[in-house]
């Protein structure tokens, strides 16, 4: 029995039947198809490339518009604060005629504390006026006037600066509302005022 099986095995090992003629084309086509990679450009995958490009464009446009919304809302929040401080400054220039604001910048950190530095220079008679407004999130402080030198209109300048501080006080709640976004518990403003 074992001998017969061995003989049978040997016969079948060397068994090489005639291959059907159509198999060559079939196998070669299948091999070609298998070797086509997605990353090699081919007309077969053209529709896939187009679909992928459209999908990518839509996605990037969506992301761009979303990022624009976020930045614009953040800018609006900042502008509300920045604009409020300079809004008072024209009154200085209007009244005094010789004080002009050269630089204004806003520095804000996570704690809600903001600093507005304004440097004003006297164009004709008045020496440079440096004003620093430091406002805290909870309790706004009255700005300290570091240097004020003037020849004739000391009193008017002081009164105008006091006006600016009043206006800057009025703008503070907007900053708090924008930057502090309570996620869990809500602390109402009424308790803060009370």
């Amino acid at each position: 029995m074992e001998n017969l099986l061995n003989q049978l095995g040997e016969n079948f090992r060397g068994f090489q039947p005639e291959v059907p003629m159509h198999m060559e084309a079939r196998v070669m086509n299948a091999v070609k198809k298998d070797q086509k990679s997605f990353w090699k450009f081919s007309l077969t995958y053209l529709n896939v490339y187009v679909a992928a490009a459209i999908a990518g464009g839509c996605l990037s446009a969506m992301l761009f518009s979303m990022s624009n919304d976020v930045t614009s809302s953040a800018e609006n929040a900042n502008v509300a604060v920045v604009v409020s401080a300079p809004a008072a400054n024209p009154s200085i220039s209007q009244n005094s005629d010789y004080i002009s604001i050269e630089k204004s910048e806003l520095i804000s950190d996570k704690s809600g504390r903001s600093q507005t530095r304004q440097q004003a220079s006297n164009s004709q008679n008045v020496k440079p006026v440096v004003e620093e407004v430091i406002t805290c999130g909870g309790t706004p402080e009255i700005p300290e006037l570091s240097e004020v030198h003037s020849n004739a209109t000391d009193e008017t300048v002081k009164t105008q600066i006091s006006q600016t501080t009043e206006i800057s006080k009025a703008s503070l709640p907007d900053l708090n509302k924008v930057e502090k976004k309570p996620k869990g518990k809500k602390f109402t403003i009424s308790t803060f005022h009370n």
Binding site: L4, F12, Q35
Partner: protein, 200 residues
């Protein structure tokens, strides 16, 4: 074309790896009949054998870069073809329970020897193809490829004893198939004998 015919095996392999279609065609022509022979043994019919052959050549060209040169190229191609056939068999097993006859059949060695000696390769191949999938696979792996039952068990994910029992059942099935074939032969001979007598 002449250059391709004279091409060394290494050069042929390198060109096939690069995707040269002429070299691949040459490679196919060299091993097609060997692979087809293996696929025919493992398949139920020529159609299934063609499918297996296609899969086998796809794998051969895909993994040709992994051929290290240890052993003959033909042996490597044969092994890929056998593995492909086994994969096809295992795919066919999914969701299919092959109701196997649990009877214990005994076959006398002598009768098998007598019968098997009378038949041609083609007839034997038809009988092998007529075997149930599991029997045919184990029979091919054990008798033709020369694997041990333990190796077959590992390859097919079955127990070694299952492999043994499937082999013995394959032999019984083969015996029955050959018996039927011989009966048909006798009937044909009787028919032609009567036909010749009547013609005289």
């Amino acid at each position: 074309m002449v250059s391709l015919l004279c091409m060394s095996e290494n050069q042929l392999i390198q060109d096939c790896i690069k995707g040269n279609s002429r070299a691949q065609r040459m490679f196919y022509k060299r091993f097609a009949s060997t692979v087809y022979g293996i696929c025919l043994r493992y398949a139920k019919n020529p159609m299934e054998a063609e499918d297996t052959m296609q899969e086998a050549f796809i794998k051969v060209f895909k993994y040709l870069k992994d051929y290290q040169g240890a052993g003959s190229l033909e042996g490597w191609v044969r092994r890929v073809a056998v593995n492909t056939a086994i994969t096809q068999y295992r795919k066919g097993l999914k969701g299919k329970y092959d109701a196997q006859v649990e009877e214990q059949w005994h076959l006398s060695d002598q009768s098998f020897d007598q019968m098997a000696a009378e038949y041609t390769m083609e007839e034997m191949l038809n009988c092998i193809q007529a075997l149930p999938d599991g029997y045919r696979t184990v029979f091919n792996l054990y008798v033709v490829e020369g694997y041990k039952h333990k190796e077959i068990a590992d390859m097919l994910g079955i127990d070694a004893n299952t492999s043994k029992s499937q082999l013995s059942r394959a032999k019984v099935h083969l015996q029955n198939a050959l018996l039927n074939l011989s009966r048909q032969r006798i009937k044909k001979e009787e028919y032609y004998g009567k036909f010749i007598e009547s013609a005289r």
